[in-house]
Subunit: 503 residues, 2 copies
Amino acid sequence: MLRSLRIISPSGFNRTRPRLFSSLRSLTEQDVSHLASILPSTPIISTFSPFNNSKDELDSFNTDWMKKYHGNSTTVVKPRSTEEVSQIVHWCWENRVAIVPQGGNTGLVGGGVPLKDELVINLGNMNKIRSFDPVSGILVAESGCVLESLSEYLAPKGHIMPLDLGAKGSCQIGGNVSTNAGGLRLLRYGSLHGSVLGLEVVLPDGTILDQLSTVRKDNTGYDLKQLFIGAEGTLGIVTGVSILTPAAPKALNNVLLAVPNFSKIIPIFRTVRAHTSEILSAFEFFDRTAYEIVCRHGHRRPFQEDIGDAQCFILLETSGGRKEHDEEKLNDLLGTLMNSEENLITTGVLAQSPFQFASIWAMREGITEALTKEGKTYKYDISIPSGSFKDVIDEIREHLRAQGVYPEGGVKAVLGYGHFGDGNLHLNVVTDGYSPKIASAIEPRIYEIVSRYRGSISAEHGIGSHKTGVLHYSKGEVSRAWMKKIKDLFDERGIMNPGKVII
Amino acid sequence: MLRSLRIISPSGFNRTRPRLFSSLRSLTEQDVSHLASILPSTPIISTFSPFNNSKDELDSFNTDWMKKYHGNSTTVVKPRSTEEVSQIVHWCWENRVAIVPQGGNTGLVGGGVPLKDELVINLGNMNKIRSFDPVSGILVAESGCVLESLSEYLAPKGHIMPLDLGAKGSCQIGGNVSTNAGGLRLLRYGSLHGSVLGLEVVLPDGTILDQLSTVRKDNTGYDLKQLFIGAEGTLGIVTGVSILTPAAPKALNNVLLAVPNFSKIIPIFRTVRAHTSEILSAFEFFDRTAYEIVCRHGHRRPFQEDIGDAQCFILLETSGGRKEHDEEKLNDLLGTLMNSEENLITTGVLAQSPFQFASIWAMREGITEALTKEGKTYKYDISIPSGSFKDVIDEIREHLRAQGVYPEGGVKAVLGYGHFGDGNLHLNVVTDGYSPKIASAIEPRIYEIVSRYRGSISAEHGIGSHKTGVLHYSKGEVSRAWMKKIKDLFDERGIMNPGKVII
């Protein structure tokens, strides 16, 4: 009973939270004056004297970009160096003041906004690139560097960042690391656990842990930095990142396929891999429902031919070193698919220009926005075996039907899209409006299904404050107990992003 | 003074070790009887009654394959299941008996052999493959599976293991994970921190930590499994591994280049990357000294042309999806290199047959064996910026000259080879025989140099018992203190592989 209460009001305080804050105290005017005096050149925004900023000026720090999570912080500090971060954190440790580390504030689970009146340490001023080695491709950057600005820095040097996200114009590399961001390039370049080579972290007592290695191979003991990748700022504040950047591909191509039904997707995936192997960089899936919604809200229908009752779609992308080789591989692939005896595809489009390339991606990337025009959407970001995507979507749809909320009763559509190649499904339930009845019809059912597949209830979005109550669907009792021990080891006073990830 | 004493006698007990064992007790005959009674079907080899095995029968468990490290264990257990491992470990925890987890015993730093009379838990009987998903390529195997047998299992399914080592015929996947093994495919497929998706671990108190995830993306809290990758069995015993296996490449090619001098290597590396990009799978370096030694000890000289005073050599390998495309890329590359205005290469050989392909690899892989025929070798496995390989080799050589041990005085040759693309240099000092004078001329100088470059004193071999005393050259005080805290958190009784990694 407690569990479902938590789920229905994810942004409210649940009953364990007051305990989290009970040993901590709120910032006072004296505290802010003191911080200002020891950090004379550090920007501070505070409703307290001598700053007297208005509450509105703190809005963008207290609220996430979706306006779903709201905190009541009185004060934001924006340090310019690791030493300043260390001084602030040490002071908070000594005084038992809670901290929320904040990057670009583009998260989806409330990990980067205060729950109460924690001190916000915003890393936006830590935005210097410290070094780049063109031979190894290793970049060392401060945590506040915006992902897109790092990509722009690397472009003339012939390198790219190993991750790419929709939020790239705002998100920061420190936040990417702290949330173990996935994104569109994971299929090709792997996760941050592989590409992050070193971190500099300010620990909860203010100690600086310097593991900012710039070597690719290092086998000297426990790889502590890995703990901070995905810890969402609950174990310390990432201030510097050393990351391996791949050489930029010279040729990019993409293809959109209309597919008769889901049973063809695995044979298609195998055929695609056989033809494109090392140049395959994306294999994205979306179902007919998603396709119709994105077309209804402004996207031009991409196929000239009639696609009949094609039930799903695949967008595949290749990134390679030599254009003509990649095109030859793709043409042969399309020939094989078109002429397959099993009728693998209904039809397909191969982008013939940069405009068409962008347009095909816009179809896939436009789904999120189209959904916002369609209604209010419950969004789930889960990892399950790719072959079960359709079963899970169908099961949820049938469950909602049985619960009497679909197709009448509030739910307009149940649809899926996502990174098929990575086993990451974005399952969406579009409704006329959010309601407790629909919420409790979906949850915890969706998490129970994930648990049955031994999947992940959060493939790439993290836990934040939103999913702490449902963590047990993905992590067993022993794992959660050890997460808690790790939290207590690093942060026995509980000042670092309290109420997030593990409580 | 203490430090250099430790270095000179790496396999002896240093003065901190007795403390490690002081709260632990030795196995007795009663203990072994008890273990046999609670585990009636588990193979046990013991000098104690009722087994009464000879000491010789324990030799292969008490000694590493190089015969460098020697323990005095009386008893080896070879459990067949995770539950059995858990029972044994729990019993050791309750009775404060030290444990050495042991895989294929192919390590180079003494991590897998006892220091005293610890109980050896050998994982060789945990050799079942639990599952393989041909769509995602995710393999779940027990830790005792031999690396080569996993490769053989995957071959007909069109997949390969993401790592390849010289020791593949003996080493086990659990040991690979526990030592964060690198090897020949790292340049292409990345480290185990990226490709290992899940682990099952028996913790020091016998608890089973089940993080055997089979999803590629999972963002639900701290990634605890990462701590066990490279922990060399000091935090728990890996019993199961979930790992992402890449699709097998369809075309393999290699090229051997003779290079006038080291200053050409970086321009060559850039040219190679520009031409081969995503199909490049190895870029191995060795110097003229290494070349001459390997040729002296039986390897046929590979070049038909005169290579003059070429000072170094590059072996590059490509692994791609389409033979004719790869060959076209390689031919264009060789044309560019041959005709470069900067005279980048002296000459080159492109393998024309599987036999030539193997022969070129045999040249590079034969260095280790040739060195054993040349004399006694001090071997260092370090990570430094690739561009400084020659400087470091030269600096050590000149230092040994200044110390009066080279070219007369015991040192016959100083040479280097390794994974240029990964910044991993194998630096070797060949001598007439091991001597304290030479040892103290090399160490700690070599580690000081690594430290100056912020490199790693152990790129891929680990710490084991051999390098605990020099860990500080790569890991700062804060890092070491936190490693110790992690060790104490997981293993407060200190039973798990004592004296290894962090002491």
